[in-house]
């Protein structure tokens, strides 16, 4: 039909930047901090930032799945704690071999996700409520199992917190692996593409033959599984599982996903963006420590910088469009 399609092509770089706007904010932040603190740009410090970002990033990768479907998972912090506690409890007081305990810890995370999904897909609960309930239940169970006290982690699992050689912290490796897994799932698998369709228009997805309920099971199970991994990494860094670990991390995880360009109304979001979002949060906290910003002001500064980071992104996006 139409002979002249009126198209202007944009360069791939410009397009890529437009889709990864948080990166600009991250770069600005890194440049700013290197100028303010001479300690910031050392290799060790950057590795520290990586290690400190790991737990949030892994939680956030899991949350990306959920947010892409238009849902929300408030339970990830509690589920992380519960998984680690189950692992540690299984290995030490219960005396299971550590691989069994590890599998049990991961299974608990997946199970929590499945319970969320059943409540959401079949019980028709709003995801906010279902996962808020799980936030309480998982935290409570972690406290019950541990009797409120930290439990030592089996040494083999605690190695997850180590650094291989001088420059290869295992948490960073785990983070990168989980990030790649998340990216592949989102971009290349049926489940991932279904997540985008469901988040974009659930009814259209259903009428296109996607089994929406079953896909939600997969989505929340993945989120629970990623939370379990995050919890185990967190515990391994301390060589001990804390029942109160990762309290409030759900907001950090969601913030990382949204800073990374996802929309809470669903259908949008990328693993790389989430990764950048998690790095922004970690760089910020690290920088505030290096600059010795007073405790009271830290929260103010974090708030302002988060708002600015996303503001830069939205304003830039508005200009290009």
């Amino acid at each position: 039909m139409s002979s002249n399609v009126l198209v202007q092509r944009r360069s791939p770089v410009a397009l890529w930047l437009a889709e990864n706007g948080a990166l600009v904010a991250l770069v600005v932040l890194v440049v700013g901090l290197s100028l303010l603190s001479s300690d910031f740009l050392s290799v060790t410090n950057l590795l520290n930032v990586g290690v400190q970002a790991a737990v949030t990033a892994i939680l956030a990768f899991g949350s990306t799945f959920v947010i892409v479907t238009g849902g929300i998972d408030l339970s990830v912090g509690s589920v992380a704690a519960l998984s680690a506690i189950v692992l540690a409890w299984g290995a030490t007081p219960a005396g299971w071999p550590w691989p069994v305990a590890t599998v049990a810890g991961l299974a608990v995370g997946v199970a929590c996700g499945l319970v969320n999904a059943v409540l959401i897909a079949y019980g028709k609960l709003p995801p906010f409520i279902a996962t808020l309930a799980m936030l309480g239940v998982a935290r409570g169970l972690a406290l019950v199992i541990s009797q409120g006290s930290p439990i030592e982690l089996p040494a083999q699992v605690a190695h997850l917190g180590d650094t291989i050689g001088r420059y290869l912290p295992v948490p960073v490796i785990v983070m990168v692996v989980m990030g790649v897994v998340a990216a592949v799932i989102l971009n290349r698998t049926y489940a991932g593409r279904a997540m985008y369709a469901i988040g974009g228009n659930e009814e259209a997805a259903r009428l296109s033959g996607i089994k929406v309920d079953r896909q939600k099971l997969i989505t929340y199970a993945l989120s629970g599984g990623f939370a379990a991994v995050a919890g185990i990494v967190l515990a391994s860094r301390l060589a001990s599982a804390q029942p109160q670990a990762a309290t409030g991390y759900e907001l950090d995880a969601i913030a990382a996903v949204v800073i990374g360009g996802a929309s809470l109304s669903g259908g949008k979001g990328r693993a790389l963006g989430t990764f950048v979002g998690a790095l922004i949060l970690a760089v910020l906290r690290n920088g505030l420590n290096l600059l010795s910003v007073s405790a009271f002001w830290q929260q103010v500064v974090i708030g302002v910088v988060i708002a600015l980071a996303v503001l830069v992104d939205t304003l830039r996006r508005r200009e290009t469009s």
Partner: protein, 500 residues
């Protein structure tokens, strides 16, 4: 009548990747019905969105009563006496009909919203467009045609000097179109100027005074409404179209789809029919006859209380879309925005939605293969877009409809249920879709086509089923049937009356 009430001169509008308007002129006289004509994506909706303050032009100017005006917001347009009915519904589904009619300007008493008066006003407006619905019903519960009538009532409430209507008849059946035309004529006689967009060329001489034709974002002609059909098509498409309904009837084979005693309480009852291989079965009826509901039930999108559906000899369980698809059913839903498209996703993604499962090997999707399949279909339907990565949201209405149909063409269903398939599609593309229907039936597949466009039903079906008030009230062979035959059946009193 001194000169133009509104003039647009050299309007330009650029979207990322698309120059939607490239120097468009329009002159509107007082008390005329001015038809805007153009292919899907020609820029009609963009033009009227500029006039109504939804978009800002990148160039050109708008004059009212000879003076240049700036229309920066919907409020500005309203203040200038311009009311607009958009192509896509602008209703709030959660709010009641009364509230939607008063949206943005509810009657107030002592600073508080006066609900009683709002509902009284609404009842008056609804009576004016002859829609019988409780003003306290949430709009989301209305069928799509009824929503359109609410949109029309909403625009009437503004008592504007200029009324712009973007494809108001696309979702209406013959009866409502007549009602709408009566309202339009009355307004015109009261001196209101009307801009009217339609893809139904037969409506132009009935209602229009003058026609402006847009092509590729430019205004290419201004002609009287009495201009012959073929000439209008040539101006619009750039080439003549020889046959509007190119149905090639094949000899029907085995029954592919059998529906027996399908019943859903309060919606439809005892619906039985079959569709044979190579056949196009049309379904006609008034709005609210329950055609859409039956189609959705057959496809498994909704549950039903009794009856059974068999496809190619296989029983399809109720309420299971996936099983229906496995059995070979496909459904192009009538509500493209709500049910057909993932608006925020790219054209390629949407076209690949139905075949996602088939393109998956060991959990991984062959996205390259999907893309090339999408490119092929997009080319075939002539989807006008900046590229396969354009968000479907930013396509023109007709092109969105092509994507909805396109995704099922990629899938290769044996029995395709089309619910209002050419709603908002231009004449050229319509013929393309009809050709595709022909190809499907020639290959031994079957099509069940629900349409409120009677000429289309008559022109493209082999048999016509007529529904009224949730029941199948008759069947006609398409050959030799007339619009009057169908209408007579559709309005005939049904024994037993209301379905329960």
């Amino acid at each position: 009548m001194t000169g133009d009430i509104l003039r647009a001169e050299g309007l330009r509008k650029q979207f990322p990747g698309v120059l939607a308007l490239d120097g468009v002129d329009l002159s509107l006289r007082a008390g005329e019905v001015h038809v805007l004509l153009g292919e899907n994506g020609a820029g009609k909706s963009t033009l009227i969105k500029i006039l109504s303050g939804a978009y800002h032009p990148d160039g050109g100017r708008v004059l009212m009563d000879g003076r240049p005006v700036r229309i920066r917001s919907a409020g500005d347009a309203r203040a200038l006496g311009i009311a607009t009915i958009y192509q896509e519904f602008n209703l709030v589904p959660q709010l009641t009909v009364a509230e939607n009619l008063a949206l943005g300007r509810p009657p107030r008493r002592f600073g508080l919203v006066d609900r009683a008066r709002m509902e009284r006003d609404a009842a008056g407006l609804l009576a004016r467009v002859d829609v019988r619905v409780d003003p306290r019903t949430p709009v989301g519960r209305l069928g799509i045609a009824r929503m359109q009538m609410v949109e029309i009532a909403k625009a009437l409430a503004l008592e504007a000097r200029i009324l712009i209507m973007d494809e108001p008849t696309a979702v209406l059946t013959t009866g409502e179109v007549e009602k709408l035309f009566a309202i339009v004529r009355q307004l015109r006689d009261e001196g209101v100027s009307i801009v009217f967009i339609t893809h139904h060329l037969e409506e132009i001489p009935q209602i229009g005074d003058r026609v402006t034709v847009l092509r590729d974002g430019r205004s290419v002609a201004e002609v009287p409404a009495s201009t012959p059909h073929d000439e209008l098509v040539r101006l619009m498409v750039g080439r003549p179209i020889d046959q509007q309904y190119p149905r090639k009837r094949a000899r029907p084979g085995e029954p592919l789809l059998k529906v027996r005693g399908l019943t859903r309480r309060g919606v439809f009852a005892d619906v039985s029919f079959e569709v044979r291989a190579g056949e196009v079965v049309g379904v006609a009826g008034l709005v609210g006859a329950g055609r859409t509901e039956v189609a959705r039930a057959v496809f498994g999108a909704d549950h039903y209380d009794a009856g059974e559906v068999t496809v190619n000899g296989r029983r399809v369980p109720p309420g299971d879309v996936h099983a229906a698809m496995e059995a070979g059913l496909g459904l192009v839903p009538e509500d493209r925005k709500g049910q057909g498209l993932v608006l925020g996703a790219a054209v390629a993604e949407n076209l690949g939605l139905v075949t996602l499962r088939d393109a998956t090997r060991a959990g991984f999707v062959d996205r390259k293969g999907q893309r090339s399949a999408a490119a092929k279909v997009a080319g075939r339907l002539g989807i006008r877009m900046a590229g396969l990565d354009q968000e479907v949201r930013t396509l023109s209405g007709g092109n969105q409809q092509k994507v909805v149909i396109g995704k099922w063409l990629v899938a290769g269903a044996r029995v395709l249920i089309l619910d209002e398939p050419t709603r908002g599609v231009d004449v050229g593309a319509r013929v393309e879709i009809y050709q595709l229907v022909n190809e499907l039936t020639a290959a031994g597949d079957a099509v069940l086509m629900i349409s409120s466009d009677l000429p289309e039903v008559l022109g493209m079906s082999d048999r016509i089923l007529v529904m009224a008030r949730g029941r199948l009230v008759g069947e006609l062979p398409a050959a030799g049937a007339t619009q009057d035959d169908v209408m007579a059946m559709a309005v005939a009193e049904v024994e037993g009356g209301r379905v329960q």
